[in-house]
């Protein structure tokens, strides 16, 4: 069977994601169920998926200096058998590079832009246009204008929402032409992660949902007989 239809069973067994990220308050399938379905992946694909999830959810690698972090990610990216995964990782690292540049410029006004380090092809552009409001990238990356405004205004939640939205749209574009192959599985899991991340931001709904789950779990128990 061709690679394009390698995971027909797996993809068909998963509920579809919504078109609009912010219209839902929880992922369409639980992590336990998702992991059960992902057991259908071949060994190498399962390892690659775990690795890219781990890398994309990365917040901080303790004990590693900045230069070591760059080499660590570059080495990890090279280990992926599938070029699609390398592209996914590179895109996310470039996004983080842009945000890191904004933060660094805000927190350290005296920082020499030529010393800036990051991932991707835009690092040189960022260094050259360090004093430019949008690093000279506004025409190529339209959302960067809004991101810069939100960051200056200290609107962390709105900025996070914008980043999630940009990532969501990017994954929607990547999904074009991938229906039942391994990249389709990766995109599904990436989008699941985004919804999961968004859902934890809604504290009130999370508490209500938790109460509902507890009530449902305890509904069949007769406490007086205990």
């Amino acid at each position: 069977m061709s690679d394009a239809f390698k995971y027909t069973l797996l993809i068909s067994s998963l509920p579809q994601h919504p078109e609009n990220l912010f219209s839902v308050d929880r992922p369409p399938v639980s992590r336990i169920q998702l992991d059960n379905r992902l057991a259908l992946l071949e060994e190498q694909d399962a390892k690659d998926l775990q690795r890219i999830e781990r890398l994309l959810l990365w917040q901080k690698i303790p004990g590693l200096e900045e230069s070591a972090v760059f080499s660590h990610f570059k080495a990890e990216a090279q280990q992926f058998c599938h070029p699609f995964l390398r592209d996914v990782l590179t895109w996310r690292l470039e996004l983080r590079t842009l945000l890191a540049a904004f933060r660094l410029r805000m927190t350290s006004p005296d920082f020499d832009g030529n010393q800036f380090q990051g991932f991707g092809d835009r690092v040189l552009q960022i260094r050259r246009h360090w004093r430019d409001k949008h690093f000279g990238l506004a025409s190529r990356i339209p959302w960067i204008v809004q991101a810069q405004q939100l960051m200056e205004a200290g609107e962390s939640f709105a900025l996070e929402k914008l980043i999630l939205s940009v990532t969501w749209q990017h994954h929607l574009r990547l999904a074009n032409g991938h229906y039942f192959d391994f990249p389709a599985v990766v995109i599904y899991v990436m989008r699941w992660d985004i919804i999961s991340r968004w859902s934890v931001y809604q504290a009130e709904q999370a508490v209500t949902h938790f109460d509902e789950l507890v009530s449902a779990g305890l509904s069949g128990i007769d406490f007086e007989s205990l």
């Binding site: 068909s12 579809q16 229906y179």
Partner: protein, 154 residues
């Protein structure tokens, strides 16, 4: 090339031509039904109802092997030097058309099952591409029968 070898050569072509529609149609149906069947099983894991129609759609690519069997019997006749190449050409080309139509129909069916699982109201429309592909298989089948009448039998 000796007379005996030429006879064998045309015999070979003739038998390939007779059996090709059935064999290639079967290969196509195997692949097509396997892809669509996997989509149907996956959809059954995710839904509570409508399982029957998923299985029904996943069986659509099986018609090509039936067309292949009919064409095989239509082409089946004593093979001679003056009809071996004709049987070969009609049988092989018809078989290839049936095989590819079954494979791609299976992919259409898998997509239809996946789409209609999330939106049951589009089930009828989602099967339309698979039905169009079936139409091309019917063309190949019908005209193979028509053209087989022009191949000498004796």
């Amino acid at each position: 090339m000796s007379e005996l070898t030429i006879t064998h050569y045309f015999d070979f072509l003739g038998w390939v031509g007779i059996y090709a529609p059935m064999a290639l149609g079967a290969i196509g149906s195997i692949v097509g039904c396997a892809v669509a069947g996997q989509a149907a099983i996956g959809a059954m894991l995710d839904t509570e109802s409508g399982h029957g129609r998923y299985i029904g759609v996943s069986a659509m690519p099986s018609s090509q092997v039936i067309y292949g069997v009919v064409v095989m019997f239509t082409l089946n006749r004593p093979i001679q030097p003056d009809n071996g190449s004709g049987i070969f050409a009609v049988g092989l080309l018809c078989g290839l058309a049936l095989m590819f139509s079954a494979i791609y129909q299976g992919q259409c069916c898998a997509s239809a099952i996946h789409a209609s699982k999330a939106k049951p109201e589009i089930f009828g429309l989602s099967v339309a591409p698979a039905a169009i592909v079936e139409g091309f298989a019917v063309f190949a089948f019908i005209f193979a029968l028509v053209i087989a009448g022009s191949i000498p039998s004796t």
